[in-house]
């Protein structure tokens, strides 16, 4: 039989490596799932998955995407893990006219960060994830449940995510003020900052009780320890990105308890894989037993990307790029991260949203820290495990 190739780009090394940590395992699973091949346009094809490492470097991400397209001649490109990887890969696909499905980037940095025109959208690139409106709603839902003075300190770095989250029009500032929160934003900082005393001083001066933002894990640690040293004790700390991974939380030591973060996927999500028929719980369990590690959120999305790919390819008229693209555009399936369907208006022509909830880390039984879902205002189908606790101490 002929072979059809699927390219996959994610950061497996570099500072963003936790985002790509589970990919090897997921792809191994896929090999089993695809062992009988896929039928495209009535013909059976063997499936080969080509995994490339972006090394957390946007430059490298673009290069390997081009390699996939030009050398490996993949029929479809999948990519996941922060704008630093997904955006250049999507751009390369758009340029070379190859269909691409991306994920694990809020849709605004993905769409507007690539200078997308809402009137036209993109021709070749499709995205599935939640958006800033969801993260804002979830964070604020959580904050409202804890008595505070509603003063929020923002930590927005100068990267794809930080610029979007802190953007005056698209990001946090507008909705927060309309909900009665006051945002204290000292400004964009470089990733890898050694010292947050400027931010801490600004927060202290304004009497901030809630801290939010989207920082990389080392910066979160630096900020949190320095805040403690300098006597700054907010009641709630909800950060995106930095607090997603159990490894990062463990690195924080005692500071990890009570931190909250967005949850895009968890074992308690009530979804099932269309490909392997595993429930979210079963998928997480098989990862934990297979990889000997605590589950992480990207597992679900890496899996879902392949679900969508398999579904689209099997519906494609032929393996020609435009046919595959048309099949992708017409997708409508239920995946382990929720329903996926494109074709809305504006950016949503290329964006399919998945549900988002809020989670909080606490001392766990099986692992040092475990994540509990504490607010499901935005996705009622996902069960809550408790209420948001104020930070201890």
């Amino acid at each position: 039989a002929d072979t059809i190739k699927i390219g996959y780009v994610s950061p497996q090394t570099g500072p963003l490596a936790p985002f790509g940590e589970a990919d090897k395992w997921v792809i191994d699973q896929m090999k089993t799932a695809f062992k009988d091949g896929i039928g495209i346009g009535g013909k059976k094809y063997d499936v080969q998955i080509v995994l490339k490492d972006s090394q957390s470097n946007p430059n490298r991400a673009g290069e390997v995407a081009n390699d996939l397209i030009l050398k490996d001649k993949v029929a479809l490109v999948l990519t996941a893990g922060t704008p630093e990887t997904a955006n250049p890969v999507s751009d390369a696909c758009e340029l070379n006219e190859v269909p691409c499905i991306s994920s694990v980037v809020p849709w605004q940095p993905w769409f507007f960060g690539r200078k997308g025109d809402p009137a036209k959208g993109f021709a070749w690139t499709y995205h599935l994830f939640w958006g800033l409106e969801d993260v804002i709603a979830n964070f604020t839902d959580g904050w409202k449940s804890v008595p505070t003075n509603k003063k929020v300190g923002g930590l927005f770095p100068n990267d794809g995510d930080g610029n979007a989250w802190g953007d005056k029009e698209l990001g946090f500032p507008k909705p927060l003020s309309s909900m009665g929160f006051t945002l204290v934003d000292p400004g964009r900082f470089q990733n890898g900052t050694q010292d947050f005393s400027a931010q801490i001083a600004a927060f202290k001066k304004e009497g901030v009780e809630i801290v939010t933002g989207v920082v990389i894990p080392p910066d979160a640690k630096t900020f949190l320890t320095q805040a403690r040293q300098q006597g700054f004790k907010p009641k709630v700390i909800t950060l995106g990105k930095a607090l997603l991974f159990p490894g990062a939380i463990e690195a924080l030591g005692d500071l990890g308890d009570g931190l909250s973060t967005e949850v895009w996927w968890s074992p308690s999500h009530p979804f099932t894989s269309s490909l392997t028929k595993q429930s979210a719980r079963a998928l997480a369990d098989s990862y934990e037993s297979g990889a000997k590690k605590q589950w992480t959120q990207p597992i679900g999305f890496a899996h879902a990307l392949f679900e969508v790919a398999a579904d689209a390819l099997s519906r494609a008229k032929s393996q020609k790029a435009s046919d595959v693209r048309d099949a992708v555009a017409a997708t409508s399936i239920n995946t382990v991260v929720g329903p996926v369907k494109w074709g809305g208006a504006g950016p949503f022509r290329n964006v399919s949203k998945t549900p988002l909830v809020l989670g909080q880390w606490g001392k766990g039984k099986k692992y040092k820290y475990e994540l509990t879902i504490v607010s499901d205002e935005q996705a009622k189908s996902i069960p809550v495990g408790g209420a948001l606790r104020p930070m201890p101490g």
Binding site: P15, A202, D254
Partner: protein
């Protein structure tokens, strides 16, 4: 304002530790170590690895790493870097640059890209409350104290002891120093060994203060380098002063706009270059 300056000085203490090893290696061997930052990170990871060996106690682990660091530096100089010394700075630059790549990727392979830190049993979060609004971290104060002691000790070693004389003699004229009975290769190795002890101390403290990940090195190198140049080459107190100036300017920059803090530090460094290329406190040899 006072707080900004105080925080700047505390930051400067850390930068001093980053820079002393560089200053020493340059002073003795005219060797610019572009892997300085990566060695600091390596030191931090060594302590992290050691901590798990010592059942989670960071201080014994850090102390145990020091002699290892000394031996590592000694051997590195003896068997690798000595072969690159000479009038041409290129070989040593390329080799240390290569080492930097090797270390980063080796750490990545062994420890993965996960950020890690050294567990200090809560020490890193303790603060010293001064007045109502000012609180200084205990750990940064300890870092500053260690930096002061290390600078003083190094300056004393360099200026007042026979070993220090040997360092200077070998750096001045290697052939003649050998004629006087010094083994230049050993003296160099000794200097690098000492530099690596400082690097390990810096790494351990960096790992306690914040998280470290394999690709953090280059930024630390630049800070170390700037401190050395601002201070003026050849004097350890100058390096300390340079580090303080860098720390304070960065802090001021951060308060103006967090995005420009490091940029501000770089600019001050470049201004020093333009107006005082010999550094602010060049060693006046007396």
């Amino acid at each position: 304002m006072i707080e900004t300056v105080l925080q700047g000085i505390l930051l400067g203490g850390l930068y001093t530790l980053f820079a002393l090893g560089q200053s020493l290696m340059f002073g003795v061997m005219r060797l610019t170590n572009t892997a300085q930052g990566d060695f600091i990170i390596l030191g931090a990871f060594a302590v992290i690895a050691g901590t798990s060996l010592f059942g989670g106690a960071p201080v014994p682990a850090a102390l145990a790493v020091l002699p290892v660091a000394f031996g590592f530096g000694y051997a590195l100089q003896r068997y690798v870097l000595n072969g690159t010394l000479g009038k041409d700075p290129l070989p040593s630059l390329v080799v240390t640059f290569g080492l930097s790549i090797v270390i980063q990727n080796l750490l990545l392979e062994v420890f993965s890209a996960d950020p890690r830190s050294i567990e200090t049993g809560g020490l890193n979060t303790q603060g010293l409350q001064i007045g109502d609004s000012l609180s200084l971290g205990i750990l940064p104060l300890i870092v500053l104290a260690i930096a002061l002691v290390a600078t003083g000790a190094l300056q004393w070693l360099f200026a007042r002891t026979a070993l220090g004389r040997s360092f200077r003699a070998v750096s001045d004229d290697r052939e003649i120093a050998e004629l006087m009975g010094l083994n230049a290769k050993k003296v160099y190795a000794l200097a690098t060994g000492i530099a690596f002890v400082l690097i390990a101390v810096a790494g351990a403290l960096q790992g306690m203060r914040t998280t470290v990940s394999p690709s953090d090195g280059p930024l630390l190198l630049l800070f170390a380098f700037e401190a050395v140049i601002i201070g003026g080459m050849g004097s350890f107190w100058g390096t300390l002063a340079g580090a303080m100036i860098l720390g304070i300017t960065q802090q001021i920059g951060f308060r103006l706009d967090p995005g420009w803090g490091i940029w501000f530090g770089h600019i001050v460094f470049l201004l020093v270059l333009v107006f005082r290329p010999q550094g602010l406190f060049p060693k006046t040899r007396s």
